[in-house]
């Protein structure tokens, strides 16, 4: 496997970790989650903390690796890592994430009319869906292009 594909695979791994960390960080704090799983305060705080550490750690690792790649790779290799197929995948992922957020907002505002607890979590749900769907869409499409 060449250096560009290796870096792309590493990036997909880091993005997946960012999604996992983000979900683990935000989920225990949501009212709707606490309805299904009863976690006492210290446990949920520890889970949130672990999620936040995974999220921030993966984000910092991704930024540092990108800087290192820019320094160590040739200009052609680095631009191949962000070539037009990757940019098209980025655009597609943002488009899908945007529509998922819009649909989620519409559904949650409707559901919130019956259950106030849903509206209490609406912002979090829309935010989590927007981040997770956008990043996972990119990761899966990039991995599938073979």
């Amino acid at each position: 496997m060449n250096i560009v594909e290796n870096a792309a695979r590493w990036r997909r791994g880091a993005l997946s970790l960012i999604v996992i960390g983000f979900i683990v960080w935000r989920l225990p704090d949501m009212t709707i989650f606490q309805r299904f799983v009863s976690l006492n305060e210290p446990v949920s705080t520890v889970i949130e903390l672990v999620g936040a550490i995974i999220w921030i750690g993966a984000l910092i690792a991704l930024l540092l690796r990108t800087r290192a790649d820019r320094r160590d790779m040739s200009k052609a290799e680095f631009s191949a890592l962000e070539d037009e197929r990757v940019q098209a995948l980025n655009n597609g992922a943002f488009r899908v994430g945007f529509w998922v957020m819009l649909v989620a907002a519409a559904l949650l505002s409707t559901a919130g009319a019956w259950d106030w607890k849903i509206s209490h979590d609406a912002a979090d749900i829309i935010f989590i869906l927007g981040v997770a769907v956008t990043l996972l869409h990119f990761v899966m499409r990039d991995a599938a292009d073979e």
Partner: protein, 76 residues
Amino acid sequence: MSKLSGLDNRLKEARAAHGLTQADLARQVGVSRKTINTVENRIFVPSTILALRIAQALGTTVEDVFQLPPEAGGQV
């Protein structure tokens, strides 16, 4: 990018005729091997600039490498 694009191509044949691998061609035109692979398999439609670079690297013209499919008005 799983849907097939509306752009036929003879990239695989042209590349093979020059004895180039996907990685070789990718290096010459400044993209990843996956991008060349997805263009060859009609998954990704390259920009005009990339199509011109590919044709240039293969010593041919864009029309020789890329064609509109017959149903889109291309020549059979």
